[in-house]
Structure formats: C-alpha cells, structure tokens
Symmetry: C2
C-alpha cells in the first residue's frame, strides 16, 4: 500500500519529474534544478532515505545534460541534503539540514477495511463473481479501444450496453423496449435523482411502500422530493391510499422489499389505472427478480404497462457485484426528450470504464450463464439456511421463498411480546452478525416485526456457523 | 453490435437458460418445458430463424433428460414453431404460426456517435491515453482481486487511490494532506452535490466567478444552492463583492476558467481572510494545473490555507480521460465527520472498477510520466496553434499561455463592434468547429468577449486544418 518504500520511491521520482526548467529564464538550468531539487526534498520528510533517480534518467526526463544533474547532486551532497552509498546510488539524507515542517502531515493509519458480515442482505457472493472472465472483458475493451469508445461519451450510456440490457429484459423479464429507452445510471439513487429532477416538479410527493428500503426516504429528500409512506397489505400498495397530490409511486411488484411478497395482477392493474387517471408515474424497482427458484415469475409491471407510465429500474449490484455501481432505468418514449435535456444541462456521472466490458460480458452469453449458476447456488443456500435454522423453531417463523437473496423471518411465539426485532438486531450486531430488523424498514409507527437473513452472499460453512450463533442468541433472549 | 446475428443467438440461449422447471409442480417437466419454450419463441420476432442450443446442452442446463428436450423439440417442429436443417441443427421458424405482437418492439437505429470537434476545450487527447498500460492495470486489479477489493466498498473511495492522490498532490501541487482527507467522486458535479448536501444548509448562497464553467449555475441549482455571480477583475474574484449571506465561494485560483489568469497572492490571502471572518468555505477547483509549461505554478490555495477553510477539487477527466469520470476532493479534517455521516445516510455512487487500476497506475510512476509527456505534447500544440493562427492577426488577439489546455482569444480591431463572439461561435459550429464564446460563460450582462480554442485534444494536422478554416471564417466575418 501507499506507505511502502516502493510507493515513496516512485513518489520522489514523480516529484522530480514534475520540476519545470525554463531554458529562456534568467537563471541557468543548473541553478533552477538546484533550487527545485532542494525545495522538493524539503517538501516532505517522507522522502528521507529515499533513492534518487540515476542522473542519466533525470537528465533525460528534464532535457538537461547529465553533467548538469551530476553537478547538482554533488552540490546537494556537500550541503548535506543527499548522501551516496557505494554502488547503491544517491539517497536523500536521513537527517535533513533544515527540514521544513510546512508540507509534512503525519499520516493516520488507514481505517480497517469493512468486511461483509453474515446475513447481510441484497449482497451477491463476491467470491463467485467470474473475475477472470470479467478482467478479460475489461482488458479487451480498453487495450486498444475503438474510435467510438474514445468519442464524446453519451451521458445516457454506452449504446451496446443499453442494447444488451434490452435483450436481457426481453429474455428474462418479458419486457420489450428499444435500447434508446435504456439509460445507464450509477444505481438506484442516481436513477431517482434523474427522475425527480428531469421529469417531475420540485418537491413532488411520492408514495412509497412501508416497509421499504431504509435509505429511500432520505434519498428522496436529498432529491427534493417528499416521501409519503403507505403501509402495504397482503396485496401490496393499495392505490386508494395514494394521496391526491402524489405524482409518483415507487413499488417493488416482483418481490416486495424486504418482505418478498409479489404483487398480484389485480393490484398491478389498479396501480396502472391510478397512473393513467392521475397522470402520475409508477417507478418499478425490479432489484433481484432474476433470482427466482420456483414457478414462473410474474412479468415486469413495465411490460404490462407497455412502458407508458411506468419507469423500470434495474441494477447489476445484486446480479453481479456491489463494486460495479452500474444500474439502469427504462424510460417511456415520451419522457426521453426531458431526460436528454437534463443530461445536456448538467452532464452524466457514470464511469464509462466498466460499460463496454459489461456489454461484451452480456453479449457473449457469460452473464446469463452466471445468473443461472447463481440461481442454483442461492437456491441451495436458502435450503441450507432453512435447515440450519431448524433449532430456532418457535423462536422465528421461516418458510421457503420462491426467489430472492434473503429470508424474512417473523418472530415466533417464544419471542413475540418479550423482545423486539430491533433488540435482536442490536444483540446480533454485537455478535458480529448483520441481522436487519423489519421495523427499521418502516417510517410509519407499529410496523411489522421480523428478521432479515441474507443468505446469497455467504457460503454454507459461514451460513452454518452464523445460524448456530443466531439460534443460541435467540434461545438466550426468548 | 447488438443487432448482429451473434447477439440474438446468445440472447435466445439466454432466454432459454432463464426457463425455470419445477420438479415438484403438478405439470410434468416436459409440459413445463413445452409451454415455456413456446412462450419464449413467441416473445420476440427477433428470434425468427435463430438456431436453438443442442438438446444435450439445454438438457444439461435445465437438469432434465435429453429425451425430454428432444420430445419437446419434435412437438414444436410439428406445430411449426421450429424447423430442422439437415446437419445444421434446429432453428426457430422464419414465419411463426401465431406471432404474438405484444413483446415485439421495432428497434430504432442507434444515434450516431458524437465525435469531438476541433477546439473543444478541457479535453485531453484520447488517442494519447496509455491504453495498453491502463488495460494491464485494470486486468491485474480484477483478475484475482484481493480480499480488500471484495469487502464492503468504502463510499469515500478505495484507500490506496486516496493515498496515491495525496502523494501526487504533495509532489505536484505542494498540498500536504492525509489520505483520509481525500474523497473519491464522479467528478465536479458529484463533489458539489456532496459539499452542498453534507456541509452547508439547503439553499446556501454561493459566490461564483463570472465568467465561469457554463454548467456551474445549473449544477448548483440542481443541488439546491443559489449561485451569486461576481464579475472577476484582473486580480480574480474580489472578496469585498461577496454578499454577506454567502456561505461559500467557488474559485479557480491557479488558472481562472476560462480566461487562464492566475489569482495573485494578495487576492488569495484576502479570500482566506473572508473565509475566516465569515465562517464561509472556499472551494478551489484546480482542474488542470498539472499542465504548466513555463515558470513555477503558484501552489494550491488549499495548501496556503493548510486545509482549514478550503476544499480542494481535482479531476482525472482532464489529466487522463473524459471517460473515467473520476475526480476527488480534499476536505478539511473538521468536515470529515459530516461527509462520513452523509455517505452513511445515502451511500456512495462512484464505481470501484477503475479505482484500484488508477491507484497502481499512479503508484507505479506511469501516471507522472504520462503527465510529463502530455505537458511536452500540449506545449508543442499550443505553440503550433499560435503559429497556425498567425493569418488571423488583427481579427483575434492571441498570446502564449504558461499553462492549460486552451487559448482564450480576444476579438481584434477587425472584428470588434462588427460581430459578437457568439455569432462567431455559431458560425464555427456550422463549419464543424467547437469554438466556445467567452460571453456564453457569463451570467451577468456585458460579459467580456473572446473565443476559446482548445488545443490539447487534437494533433497538429487537425489543429492546422481547423485553424485554416477558422482564419478563413474570421476573414469573411470581419
């Protein structure tokens, strides 16, 4: 890492290569080099003891003669700034004559890297990402990039990736769209910002599901929108409870987050009817529907709507890797001019670096094979977790789920009324487990209580060990 | 691209691999496969004529026997959905019995790729990016990523990159900071959003330079801030003209954008004095100071301030590639807790993909060598442009600039009063040249007029040809 000798070595090189010598200046090149080198050495005590570049190398880099560099090195040796070691080269002295303290800042040790803790939900297993394939696609895209990749980046995203996503949605979600309706984003927050700034008036009221993704209300607030939570029933969000002033509703119809329920067709049609009648837009967050283990998933709501009033949001953070930060939205044709105008005004934010690699990864079919493989692995992990949690019967209520990446475990008779899901979550956190409380996903009072147990991101050994610890903890609290 | 046969081939595979068969269901696997396959084929007319996977491959993928797949294929052949060609395999029929139109969307041809046009400013030459080196760093970082890379990404950025940036700033900008003060962003807009949401009250008034980056006011507005433009004089932004309600000032002290002036020490001290007195923050946008061709650049304002009240913004979009979308800000220690709390609340947005590659590219010294090489190339291109524009003497006023990536050409006596910089810009756009008008960078009335001629991004042939066309155009308009 950065505190190694190697890094400071190249950093001194970098500092010296940054020197500017002006042949037209009144001062000689030699005097300029002497002054510049002395100042660079004094600029940081991190350089103490570091080797200088060979005089030949520095001379070539600065376009001066080697003799000039040697004279300057000799001068600084005589001043005590530099020392020579027989056969090893020239080094900055360990003790400098007048070490300037101005530019030296003590470095704190880096904060420890945050590890994923067992039962973290919405996390694909980072170890199962096909890294070698992915690195090959990155290398191929960028080693000798096409002229199109070097042209002005389209703020809506790299076209072949948008086309590959359109193909994927047709194959996996029965959603037909033109690639030009697909807009690449840095994830759900970026998508919400684009939607609430480009398409809707400021301080729009938005109906959201309660419970929902805990950052939702804060994210909407940071976009200037106002969240209006609606407690969902067994059939999902009831459009009759959307306030008249609302101009948008955010829903997770395929699998409600985090309870996992899917919205029946009747509720879907009612929601589309609300949108048509009120002129509102429905935002469908379809975050992990590809991980379906049994039965046919209901097609995307946006497909039912034929992309008239529904914006569809997808993400690769759950399908592939949380590190990518690539998501997308599919936009009704009539809204595209406003989106384009917004990007013209403020520009795009999403890095182009991963986009061509992801496009060829999808075009090659490797992405579909990966999803299918993960579906098998995650289905096994869900079954394993269910069996590993068997000792907690009576404490929590667990049932197989037809899809998803976590289980939502209600509190059983041995816990109900004695302890809250939040207290269990806090106790589990002390034991190193990331068990989220369902009531922390509610902003309305008297939210339902349950524990969220993410299983997709962890192998069976880890899940087994974590389940044993959680069972013991629940038995103690019951 | 996506419309090739190859892509649809793998897309049909992908669609079939997405099928879910449930051994526990009432329907037989064979009936489920027959129904699923029929629906997939009908879902898009893009599949017409496409070859199906071999029965052996599909059987293995779906965990059914090969006989089951063969029976289903035979059934669909008899129904007219599939056809066989001797020795070539099984294909979707060209004409389908009852083609469902629901999911078929005609695809528009992609919009043409936008090429960079000569004289675009703030653009590094995409052809000179060391692509092979860059791809090697990407491949090395991701082929077999370290456990730290697979851990929970730090929303403030990949630590070794933050450390490499701290090293770079010490070497090139005489700015000393701890790596933990460096926050990785998706560029200037992202940085402004973080600053105005995390550190300042909503609807903060911000003093900005006039002229300035044209998207500045819109970007600030989209963050909820209110821009108060101050017309700059020869000494830059005068703190006496900052309104009392302002809590922030955004400046480009090293090289004012786009006039190229640098702010003298007296103005810098006055600005720091304003910040100390008013409790305001100064945001230093140091966008291209590394490209300095003569003389020593003034150190960063943030260094003079010792990072007390100044936030420093840097970017790799101008140093390396516009496609990266990686920038950074250096934050005073006392403001770090608020930044961390903001990221806790809403999460980070910047892709991790390029970060470890950029870190090792910087640590290896290749980045410093690249900057030095670009400095030589861009200095030559500036000199070349000056000579190529010699025929326009009297029409425009051009002088060598000690740094930067564009020249700011005032209107000469043969044009002044006859034609505005905006009219020239519009005429140049019709001729395929991207000559920006200085007055388009002003939001206050009676802005100064000049033409911005970016030279860094274009080779001498392109610059020479573009300069000839511009000279002819100016002569016609004069």
């Amino acid at each position: 890492m950065a505190n190694s000798g190697k890094s400071y070595q190249s950093n001194l090189d970098s500092a010296l290569f940054a020197l500017l010598l002006d042949p037209a200046a009144a001062e000689s090149l030699q005097a300029q080099l002497l002054d510049g080198l002395r100042r660079k050495i004094l600029s940081s005590n991190a350089f103490c003891g570091v080797r200088l570049p060979a005089s030949r190398v520095l001379a070539a880099e600065l376009s001066v003669s080697r003799t000039t560099v040697q004279i300057v090195y000799d001068q600084l040796i005589s001043e005590g700034y530099l020392v020579t070691r027989q056969g090893a080269g020239t080094f900055v002295a360990q003790e400098l004559p007048h070490l300037s303290r101005v530019a030296s800042v003590p470095r704190h040790p880096p904060a420890p890297v945050a590890r994923w803790r067992p039962f973290q939900s919405a996390l694909p297993d980072p170890a199962l990402m096909p890294h070698a394939q992915w690195a090959r696609h990155l290398d191929r895209a960028w080693r000798a990039p096409s002229a199109d990749l070097l042209a002005r980046p389209d703020p809506l995203g790299w076209y072949p990736l948008r086309a590959a996503i359109a193909d994927h949605l047709l194959a996996w979600r029965q959603l037909a769209c033109d690639p030009q309706q697909v807009v690449i984003t840095s994830g759900a927050r970026d998508a919400f910002e684009i939607i609430f700034r480009a398409l809707l008036p400021p301080t729009t009221t938005v109906a959201i599901e309660d419970p929902c993704w805990p950052k939702m209300a804060r994210t909407l607030m940071s976009c200037g929108a106002r969240a209006h939570p609606v407690r969902i029933g067994p059939e999902g969000l009831d459009p009759a409870q959307i306030p008249a002033r609302a101009r948008a509703a955010i829903v997770t119809p395929s699998r409600h987050y985090p309870t996992g329920r899917s919205m029946p067709l009747s509720s879907r049609l009612a929601l589309l009817e609300w949108a048509g009648r009120s002129g509102g837009v429905v935002i469908e967050d379809d975050y992990d529907s590809e991980f379906r283990y049994r039965g046919q998933p209901l097609p995307a709501l946006a497909g039912l709507d034929r992309l008239e009033n529904v914006l569809y949001l997808g993400s690769f953070s759950k399908l592939l890797s949380a590190a990518l930060r690539i998501g997308y939205m599919v936009v009704p044709q009539r809204m595209l001019p406003q989106i384009a105008a917004y990007f013209d005004a403020v520009g795009g934010q999403t890095s182009l670096t991963p986009q061509p690699a992801l496009a060829s990864f999808m075009e090659s079919g490797e992405f579909a094979l990966h999803l299918r493989r993960m579906r098998r692995v995650y289905a096994r992990r869900q079954a394993y977790l269910l069996s590993a949690m068997a000792p907690a019967q009576g404490f929590v209520e667990l049932a197989p789920d037809a899809g998803g990446m976590h289980l939502c475990a209600g509190l059983g008779p041995k816990l109900q009324g004695r302890v809250s899901d939040r207290e269990i979550s806090a106790e589990a956190a002390r034991a190193g487990l990331c068990v989220a409380a369902l009531s922390d996903h509610c902003s309305l009072p008297h939210g339902p209580e349950a524990l969220l147990l993410g299983y997709a991101g962890f192998d069976e050994d880890t899940l087994g060990d974590a389940a044993r610890r959680l069972c013991a903890l629940l038995a103690r609290m019951g």
